[in-house]
């Protein structure tokens, strides 16, 4: 367990086009941090800078409080799981798992013992003498994990370790990783573009976009209290509804008929365009009579059943709106519905900057 801190860290491959910009990130010892963001936003680059595989263009990296910018990867006591596993094709599973031990001069008997423990933990005991090419995707992934954990490092880095697996395996591996983290008691930094993984795994989530760290907080806070339009839209499934509006006379207004959004605007936004965010799962379907503070009228265009719930896609005067409704709700395609929200459920963002505006 060790702390990792990035202070004003930037990275550019070519001058003047930074791919990571002024990132500050404080990771507590033993914490499970997930870096999430769309593909190409600089997640891997961040992780590779922490690993030491990429030079830091500016800023400071501290590991356990000590400046680590110039410490070579093998001396950072960090293990890493690569996105496409990077298994050594000519070595057996056992040799792959034991590789770091071999490199560090651990005796053969001790190596075998550790390999067996790890293999047992990851259910690889039956495959120790196979080569990677004879394994399934999930098994390879586990070998990659095994190779990292055999070492007992203070920090583990995982770059989209599950992205090559099918959905079922992904969810079972998620649980295993969470379990591993508790067992290893090590600091973990995990990169993914999948917000579900982020929400389920992380102690804290770092949301990135275009090389900028937008918010770093617990999953709950990120979900309940997104700092920006981007975070709000990226985290949560199905994604948040956004309605474009305008601040007029201290009130959020749309020009569209059949829509009521009685939210007060702060005075400094008078005349500005804003965006109202509404989570699908907070919306309430009503046949018409039950009055709620925020209300839309619309027509049901598509119904998706997700099992326990249904996703209702409706067409309203302000554009499409998606809500999650219980299966019990009696609703059919083409029905005219009214969709209601409480004002507390609404998020307000400044359109120009994407900044969250806290409602009093």
């Amino acid at each position: 367990m060790i702390s990792i801190a990035l202070e004003n860290v930037s990275k550019s491959y070519q001058a003047d086009t930074p791919v990571v910009k002024n990132v500050d990130l404080d990771i507590e010892p033993g914490e499970f941090v997930v870096i999430v963001g769309p593909s190409g936003c600089g997640k891997s680059t961040m992780m590779r800078m922490i690993a030491g595989l990429e030079r830091i263009s500016s800023g400071t990296l501290r590991i356990g409080g000590k400046v680590a910018n110039d410490i070579p990867p093998q001396h950072r006591d960090i293990a890493m799981v690569f996105q496409n596993y990077a298994l050594y094709p000519h070595l057996t599973v056992a040799e792959n798992i034991g590789f770091s031990l071999e490199m560090r001069g651990v005796s053969k008997t001790e190596r075998l013992r550790r390999v067996e423990v790890v293999a047992h933990l990851l259910q690889l005991s039956d495959y120790l003498h196979k080569k990677p090419k004879d394994l399934s995707g999930g098994q390879r992934q586990r070998v990659a994990m095994g190779r990292a954990i055999a070492r007992d490092a203070k920090t583990y880095l995982m770059d989209e370790p599950l992205s090559n697996l099918d959905a079922e395996l992904r969810s079972s591996m998620r649980a295993e990783i969470k379990h591993l983290h508790r067992q290893l008691k090590a600091t973990m930094i995990y990169v993914t573009h999948d917000q579900v993984e982020a929400l389920t795994l992380a102690d804290r989530i770092a949301v990135m976009n275009k090389g900028v760290l937008l918010q770093f907080d617990t999953p709950e806070k990120i979900y309940d209290d997104p700092a920006s339009l981007f975070v709000a839209g990226f985290i949560g499934s199905p994604p948040m509804n956004f309605i474009e509006a305008n601040c007029k006379e201290g009130i959020v207004q749309t020009t569209k008929e059949g829509t009521r959004i009685p939210i007060t605007c702060p005075p400094e936004l008078e005349g500005e365009d804003v965006v109202v965010g509404l989570r699908p799962e907070n919306g309430v379907l009503s046949a018409g009579d039950k009055r709620m503070a925020i209300e839309f009228r619309g027509e049901v265009m598509l119904i998706e059943t997700t099992g326990s719930n249904r996703n209702i896609h409706a067409k309203t005067a302000t554009g499409p709106l998606l809500i999650v409704a219980p299966r019990s709700a009696a609703i059919g395609l083409g029905d005219n519905v009214s969709i209601g929200y409480n004002t507390e459920d609404a998020f307000l963002f400044e359109k120009k900057t994407g900044k969250r505006i806290h409602l009093s």
């Binding site: 070579p72 293990a79 094709p89 000519h90 770091s100 490199m103």
Partner: protein, 289 residues
Amino acid sequence: MIARLTPYAMVLPIVVFILAFTYWPILVSFDLSFRHWDFMSSEKPFVGLLNYSELVRSVEFWNSVTITLIFTAISVPLRLALAIAIARYLTTESKTVRALRGAFFLPAVTSSVAIAVIWSWIFSTDAGVANALLNNLGIAKVPWLQTPSLALWVIIIVNTWKQLGYDIVIYVAGLQAIPEDLYEAAKMDGGKRWHTFRRVTFPLVMPTTYFLLIVSVIESFQIFTIVDVMTQGGPAMSTDMMVNMLYRTGFTLFDVGKGSALAVLLFVFLVVLTVLKSRILGKRVHYEH
């Protein structure tokens, strides 16, 4: 019918070409190896295995076999070791690296005669650059090409210098096929340079190494021009390779029969090696990534 024959008709010219310029000469040498001939006489009397038996009983033959084997045993590992050591630094794609690769490759496509002449000057005892440099270090003149124990080394150096670029280019291709993340993984795993090379790089370029091994052994057995220009097999036969003996026997001493017998022996040996090559390459050295 015509449609069926068309493909055969299309390969016919090249087949004829290969038959005429590869297989026919081989058959002729085979035949001549059982005869006595000096190029000019109209008779070529059949002498059975006499040429072969004379050959294997001659000191000259075993000398050239030994020299060729020593030459091969030293120069092949030397070439491959140097090539892979250098190739490791030439796998990236930049202007400088490409220029360096080109520079290393240049001798491989330069005429052997030109190379041999230049190196003869360099290693000339009293007027050569090599000795001039040594002289600056206070080392007395070394008669490189006049000392039996040194002349072979000079040949090895010159041949290595010439062939190295080819080996490097092949190794670069082999090394580039190794995914970068394997090196990164090894780095994270604490692999020191040498360990990583031994446990990751070297096993993964094994197919390339096998290929180069066979090719360079075959090449070594065929060395001729550099020796012919620089030492003509001397001094005291210390650099007399099999092909140089073959040339001397057949084309300067006009013992066509014995020369052909030597050619046949060399040919058989190289065929064995080539078969071995396809066997080994077929079997041992394939990895999937």
